[in-house]
């Protein structure tokens, strides 16, 4: 990774019935997730950063370069900011072919020998077969692939992705997600990714910024935010998700399974298409999918048994459930159990337990 750029935001915009006020310095490493319910101002904030909201007052600085500052009256217009913006609705130019759309960006990138070439994005996003198609004839997933490729050809220093999956159905989402996952690693460009989906956040984001009613209410690592460890999240209804960074050990293609390894413990998950042995992959574990056993179970269909230690048990107010934090070889995993089960098993912090995970719960298409 190149050195970390910082995005210094001190902006406010008012719309009828809604105001956005954000004062935050954000380290741009990998993918920063901008997470919050619809109408919380995520897209507006992204538009402010891109220079698409000239009415925004305050200041935006990127890597010590001032993009706008209402005190000095400075405003760098959108087309001069080195950002790549991927819109929710792709916004391909209908009068140009796929190739024409890519060429549009390439011709304006300001370099004869751009670091990201058209051949590279055509290959990365698998666009060979649709290069000469009319954009009207593309599927939603194809459109988004072209839109992301087109944006990369502007040689951006910061990628802004505005819910690029929101308009797609579940199958198309799982087509695009691997491309998005590979972006930061492959092109070494920091990204801000907007979504209201906790599972998209868990798949893609390294840091998560939570936006509610136009204000930043929490900011932290993806594992911490998505594990619901912030009080400020109590108003946000999403299921706690844990992230486990695992290594692909081998593909069991005849059974459509992949074996992955986490700190010497093996897990079996549905086949991870497109990954190679030794690739590092994120597994998402929903708290409700985790069961706990005191002894290592036998004669059971569940394939994945991880040993760990209970770190804490928190009763969830006004519900039948309690949230357990488990330490599995240094990673925290959340497990949501009924309070009844916690009592009956006599679970307490410090106990050694086994976490049981059904293979089906790792279905990455969801």
């Amino acid at each position: 990774m190149s050195e970390v750029s910082q995005l210094d935001l001190d902006v406010s915009v008012s719309y009828p019935g809604f105001s956005l006020e954000v004062r935050e310095n954000i380290d741009l490493t990998g993918v920063v997730g901008l997470f919050g319910p619809s109408g919380s101002g995520k897209s507006s904030l992204l538009r402010v950063i891109a220079g698409l909201e000239p009415r925004a007052s305050g200041s935006v600085k990127f890597a010590e370069t001032c993009w706008q500052d209402s005190d000095s009256g400075r405003f760098m217009p959108a087309h001069r900011r080195p950002v790549g913006y991927v819109f929710q609705d792709a916004r391909l130019f209908p009068h140009l072919s796929v190739h024409g759309n890519l060429d549009y960006a390439l011709r304006r990138c300001g370099s004869d020998q751009p670091a990201i070439s058209d051949n590279e994005v055509i290959e990365t996003f698998n666009l060979h077969n649709i290069l000469h198609r009319d954009v009207h004839s593309l599927s939603g997933g194809e459109r988004q692939r072209v839109a992301i490729a087109r944006t990369l050809l502007t040689q951006p220093r910061l990628l802004l992705l505005d819910e690029p999956l929101a308009a797609l159905d579940v199958n198309r989402k799982s087509d695009i997600l691997p491309y998005l996952e590979s972006l930061p690693r492959r092109f070494d460009i920091p990204a801000i990714y907007v979504s209201h989906s906790a599972s998209e956040m868990a798949r893609l984001a390294d840091t998560v910024v939570v936006l509610q009613d136009g204000r930043v209410t929490a900011i932290g690592s993806a594992n911490r935010i998505l594990g619901r460890e912030e009080l400020a999240l109590s108003a946000l209804p999403f299921e706690a998700v844990s992230i486990l960074q695992v290594r692909v050990a081998r593909h069991l293609s005849d059974m459509h399974l992949t074996e992955v390894e986490y700190q010497g413990q093996a897990l079996t998950v549905p086949e991870l298409n497109g990954t190679l042995v030794n690739d590092s992959v994120r597994l998402l574990i929903r708290a409700g999918d985790v069961a706990i056993a005191l002894e290592e179970p036998r004669s059971i269909s569940v394939r994945n048994v991880l040993s760990g230690t209970i770190v804490s048990i928190d009763a969830l107010a006004d519900s039948a459930f309690a949230m357990l934090s488990l330490d599995i070889s240094g990673s925290q995993i959340k497990a949501q159990l009924t309070q009844h089960a916690v009592d009956e098993l006599g679970l307490a912090a410090g106990m050694s337990v086994f976490a049981l995970l059904k293979t089906a719960s790792f279905d990455r298409s969801a």
Binding site: P77, H79, Y104, R108, R150
Partner: protein, 222 residues
């Protein structure tokens, strides 16, 4: 066969007016389609005035504004030696105002249909405003340009009142087809009046057919 001079004069007048209005009407229509200025309704109303005013009202004021005693008229005499009224140049100036709404309104509608989204996409791909206009807004509103040009051209061919007031009836200079028909009728030369009138009906029908066919084809297919 009637003298076809008035026909060629009408075509020349309509052609020149359309070309000039393409250059003047495009920025005005773009401004009207994109501005949030509070002056917009006022400018829109002024642009639409020729639609509702009797041509004699426009013609009357043009006669005064372009006359040799007016600043414009006397300046024109100084640089060209000719009067602006009762000349082809005077007709062109009057036609530009008279046909303005026929250029501006279809263009404004076309630009509004293009909307902000493609222009923002262009800006995000490093296209400056002028670049984005020519590379995105213009091709996306191509049908609007065709329809505006055809309507402007046809409307200028059909003008009568303003021409009569500003240009009079000078063969080869200001006698356009509508004036020629009027003259044929006045002199009871119905045969020539028929030929020119029927020709104009056919021409106008073909033009409108083109416009409506284009409109049908331009319905978005996404």
């Amino acid at each position: 066969m009637p003298d076809l001079g008035p026909l060629w004069l009408s075509l020349a007048l309509a052609g020149v007016t359309t070309v000039i209005l393409l250059f003047l009407g495009t920025p005005l229509a773009w401004w009207l389609a994109t501005t949030r200025s509070r002056f917009r309704p006022g400018i829109e109303a002024v642009t639409a005035l020729p639609l509702v005013l009797p041509p004699t009202v426009l013609g009357f004021y043009f006669l005064i504004a372009l006359g040799p005693a007016s600043p414009v008229g006397s300046f024109w005499i100084k640089i060209t030696g000719d009067a602006l009224t009762f000349s082809f140049a005077g007709l062109v100036i009057a036609s530009i105002f008279y046909s303005l709404p026929f250029m501006v309104q279809p263009l404004q509608n076309a630009f509004e249909a293009v909307g902000k989204a493609p222009m923002e996409a262009a800006a995000s791909l490093r296209a400056g405003r002028l670049d984005a206009f020519f590379s995105v807004a213009l091709p996306l509103s191509a049908r609007g340009f065709i329809s505006a040009s055809v309507l402007t051209f046809a409307h200028t061919i059909g003008e009568f009142g303003v021409v009569l007031m500003v240009g009079g009836n000078i063969p080869g200079k200001t006698r356009v087809i509508s004036i020629a028909i009027y003259e044929h009728v006045e002199t009871l030369n119905y045969r020539d009046a028929h030929i020119l009138s029927a020709g104009l009906i056919l021409f106008s029908f073909v033009v409108l057919l083109m416009v409506y066919t284009l409109r049908r084809a331009s319905r978005p297919h996404v």
